[in-house]
């Protein structure tokens, strides 16, 4: 999203920029303080001032040093930029939702500048509407419409270029099939003129023509078979290739990209967008080629045969085009209306059925019936109007279509009577005429289809052209990790607009277990994501055994970190494949050993198919504790140097928690471990605890040290008591005590 708009020169002059003063952010706003829509208004942030330009005039000019705590607030369907100036919360600018996201970034930018940091905020968010052409963008970086047809053709060309041979083959086949249709009309003419009209034909002539027709028919059949087959092969080849390309790209892209896309959006790009391309090639491209060929050949042959009649046919084409367009516009409106009504009907029905208990218990059936009846009638009306429209309009259109043919028959018939042309020629001409009109229906649908294709191609290229943020260093090190981890001044935010952790410093020795506590959203999981290098830090560095993790080969790094998360993800596969997911070459001995250590072996043996039991969405369903133990076995199997436990026991009941805890105890022995837990009692084995608060490490020390401090940790411990039974206070304190012998 654009954060630095270009200002017109006269406005820049009014800013009176000083020497070495640069515009860092410049964002428009569109509401006055009393809520009128205004134009030509900007919030300009330089390295020294925040300047508000309202309708072309500077209305506020504040030194950056005074702009404290800049914030973008969003009350109801609009937003405002506020800042505390001289101790007074002050409204700087108002804007509609159009600029709402932009101002989130700008407020952050002002805060950073105010704090003396020269880090410039950038936004990866997409614009909703193209600045140039005003069309809605399909969540892509570039506008599919602005590039114009040439850009689209270029991209389409790039997609097709590896398959040139196929394109030529299909082209050849369509030309062949068009020519065959032309030829069959010609043969018909010969048959009439040479055999039927003079009545001089013999049986052998009839047989000869019969054979020719058979040959042409068989050839047409073969050619059309080949066209369909080759276009299907061609389109599925392209879409398969694309699907793999998109899939690989998505796997390669950083988690941040995947998190930012809405769920389903990426899925759609892999599945539907590639299928759309396939469908386009199947339906449209081949149809387009054959329609164009038919049209072209028919017209050329007509011109050669009888240019007068050809021109007569041509006069009718514009009329038909206009009729088709009018019909389409109206039918689309009617169709859309019936579609909207059917949506309403569906929503209502869903509402009532899912709320049936409420409806029944309050005895509102009559009321619901009335409502439903009303919507149902509206839906029926809309549908009837649409159907009736078709019933009334389609036959006259068809008549107008054939009217041209009748006229040609009339004038051509006169020519035949005047012996200018032969009857056979007339038959040939009328056949070609009908070939002229048929593709027109087809052409009228073309813009809609091309638009769909344009958007699809743009969406696919949007993924393909995305650069992954987290990449291997040029010469990555294949490090055998021993387990010392240290954070130096680490700062990071998922959006550059909001920092999640700032200035983290921590040294962890090999084999140490660190418990991470803090409120939800404080940044605990973020810290862990950084160790796994799902993201790269914005500032500072994380080192493992003294090597910056950005210099370690990513595959080596990931294969030496074991992870057990709160929501264990098991693939829809067998237990054994889930356990050896990260090490497919593990021996059965090792797998059983790992399962035993994870307290999983016993329950796995009791499963219907033992280790071969199919689990996951459609398979055997395991309990939370069982899934967790499988995840632990998975982690044990790779013998990781660093272990990460993110709320690994939080969703378990007491009995399975005990089993999991015991397994975890074995797993963590001798390994550097980072454990996040909400329930503080689960961190009783931790050597040190760190408390994350306000995006940074607020407290660090052993359980006892932190309790004595009576700070945040103490507060967290007591707060948990409020939730749980108060009487268990001491118990929890005891539990949370590390085992100091």
């Amino acid at each position: 999203m654009k954060l630095n708009f270009k200002l017109e020169k006269d406005i820049i002059d009014k800013l009176k920029l000083k020497d070495k003063e640069n515009i860092i952010y410049c964002v428009p706003f569109d509401l006055s303080t009393d809520g009128r829509l205004i134009k030509n208004s900007y919030t300009v942030v330089t390295n020294d001032r925040v300047i508000i330009v309202t309708e072309g005039a500077v209305t506020n000019d504040i030194p950056l040093s005074k702009c404290e705590d800049a914030k973008s607030e969003a009350p109801v369907d609009c937003g405002m930029l506020i800042s505390t100036i001289d101790g007074e919360i002050t409204l700087l600018a108002r804007f509609s939702m159009k600029h709402h996201i932009r101002y989130g970034y700008v407020a952050k930018g002002i805060r950073l500048l105010h704090d003396g940091k020269d880090y410039v905020v950038r936004s990866r968010e997409r614009e909703t509407i193209c600045e140039k052409c005003g069309m809605v963008m399909p969540k892509t970086k570039q506008c599919p419409y602005c590039g114009g047809k040439s850009q689209m053709l270029y991209k389409m060309g790039r997609l097709l270029s590896p398959y040139k041979g196929w394109v030529f083959l299909i082209l050849f086949l369509t030309v062949l099939s068009s020519l065959l249709s032309m030829a069959s009309a010609y043969v018909l003419r010969l048959f009439m003129d040479d055999v039927l009209i003079p009545k001089s034909g013999t049986i052998s002539d009839a047989v000869k023509f019969f054979m020719i027709f058979i040959v042409i028919g068989v050839t047409v059949m073969a050619v059309s078979q080949m066209t369909v087959i080759s276009s299907t092969l061609f389109s599925s080849k392209i879409s398969n290739g694309l699907r793999i390309q998109v899939f690989n790209k998505i796997q390669q892209l950083s988690i941040s990209y995947i998190n930012k896309s809405r769920p389903g959006q990426l899925l759609n790009r892999v599945l539907w967008d590639t299928r759309e391309i396939q469908r386009f090639i199947d339906d449209t491209l081949c149809g387009l080629l054959s329609s164009t060929m038919n049209f072209l050949f028919a017209f050329i042959f007509l011109l050669v045969l009888n240019w007068k009649l050809a021109l007569l046919a041509l006069i009718f084409l514009p009329v038909i085009v206009v009729i088709l367009r009018l019909r389409k516009k109206r039918s689309r409106r009617l169709w859309r209306k019936s579609q909207i009504k059917s949506d309403l009907l569906y929503t209502r029905l869903q509402d009532v059925i899912s709320g049936i208990r409420v409806v029944k218990s309050y005895g509102k059936e009559k009321y619901e019936e009335k409502q439903f009846r009303y919507i149902n009638e509206q839906h029926a009306k809309a549908t009837i109007r649409f159907e009736v429209f078709w019933a009334i309009v389609v036959p006259p259109t068809a008549f107008l279509f054939s009217l041209g043919g009748y006229l040609i028959t009339y004038f051509g018939g006169m020519d035949v009577l005047n012996n200018i042309i032969t009857p056979g020629e007339l038959v040939q001409i009328t056949t070609y005429c009908s070939m002229l009109t048929a593709p027109l229906v087809w052409f009228s649908n073309l813009p809609q289809r091309l638009n769909r294709l344009t958007i699809t191609i743009e969406r696919i290229y949007d993924v393909l052209e995305e650069e992954p943020e987290v990449i291997n260093a040029q010469l990555p090190q294949k490090l055998e990790i021993s387990g010392d981890v240290s954070f130096k001044n680490v700062s990071f935010g998922y959006d550059s607009y909001e920092q999640v952790i700032t200035d983290i410093n921590l040294d962890v020795k090999k084999g140490e277990m660190i418990g991470i506590v803090g409120k939800s959203g404080a940044g605990k999981s973020t810290l862990i994501n950084l160790i796994m290098r799902m993201y790269d830090v914005d500032e500072g560095s994380i080192t493992i055994d003294g090597v910056d993790i950005r210099d370690i080969d990513m595959h080596t790094l990931h294969s030496q970190i074991g992870v057990v998360l709160q929501e264990t993800f098991l693939f829809s596969d067998t237990v054994i494949n889930n356990i050896r997911y990260a090490r497919p070459d593990a021996s059965f001995n090792e797998i059983i050993m790992a399962a035993k250590m994870a307290n999983a072996h016993d329950f796995i043996c009791k499963l219907p198919d033992g280790y071969n039991t199919y689990v996951g969405e459609k398979g055997y369903s395991l309990s939370g504790g069982e899934r967790q133990r499988i995840a632990i076995a998975r982690a044990i199997l790779i013998n990781p140097a660093i272990l990460i436990l993110d709320e690994a026991t939080s969703s378990l009941d007491t009995e399975s928690e005990y089993q999991v805890q015991e397994a975890l105890g074995r797993l963590t022995k001798g390994r550097t471990t980072f454990a996040i837990a909400h329930r503080l009692s689960t961190l009783r084995n931790a050597d040190r605890l760190i408390v994350i608060n306000d995006h940074t490490i607020a407290e660090c020390g052993t359980h006892n040290e932190l309790l004595e401090k009576k700070g945040i940790y103490y507060g967290l411990v007591t707060a948990q008591l409020e939730i749980n039974d108060i009487s268990s206070f001491e118990e929890v304190l005891d539990e949370a005590q590390p085992n100091v012998n």
Binding site: G35, L37, P75, C78, H100, G134, R336, T718
Partner: protein, 184 residues
């Protein structure tokens, strides 16, 4: 540490909070003083307490726009300070202040004239006049962003999330109605 005391304290505190939330505190000129802050917001002195920046919420923005205005503290919790039962009973200066704050908080232009609607590839591009000035916006046709509230009132949401209101469908001219007929 005395557990019993801690327990009692928590219970008392929670009871206080519930009582506070249940109480109806009506605000009018007799018990409150409204002032505009230097920064452009509203401050209130009510029952002896001073609130530096209050949030003004309409509780029935469509059906009872001038009634039951809830004044709330402007922080995350947003505790209710009190309710103005009927704005028309305030003196003129106070009413103007409150109205200004409502306008500051909400933005939903009322469409007064539909100049043009272009329908392109599943999106409707509107060109309208509103009570806040002329405006162009774009709405997605099939996403349910055009909501029919009751028989007459229509709320339309554009692709950015702005909302536009047509308060009375029957007051549109027939040509205007024809332009938006498809969406309703």
């Amino acid at each position: 540490m005395n557990n019993k005391n801690l327990q009692n304290d928590i219970i008392i505190q929670q009871q206080k909070m519930t009582d506070d939330a249940l109480e109806m505190r009506f605000i009018d000129n007799s018990n409150a003083v409204f002032k505009k802050t230097k920064g452009g917001f509203l401050s209130v002195e009510f029952n002896g307490a001073y609130y530096g920046r209050v949030c003004v919420c309409q509780t029935f923005p469509f059906t009872q726009p001038g009634k039951f205005i809830s004044l709330r503290e402007n922080d995350e919790k947003g505790r209710e300070i009190g309710i103005i039962e009927d704005m028309s009973k305030l003196d003129e200066a106070s009413r103007a202040l409150i109205e200004e704050q409502i306008k500051l908080r909400c933005f939903m232009p009322v469409i007064t004239k539909i100049v043009n609607v272009k329908d392109k590839y599943g999106f409707a591009y509107f060109d309208v006049l509103t009570d806040r000035g002329e405006c162009r916006f774009t709405a997605h046709i099939f996403s349910g962003d055009i909501i029919n509230l009751g028989d007459k009132r229509i709320i339309m949401k554009d692709v950015d999330g702005n909302r536009f209101e047509i308060p009375d469908l029957s007051k549109l001219s027939s040509s205007e109605r024809k332009m938006i007929e498809v969406f309703i």
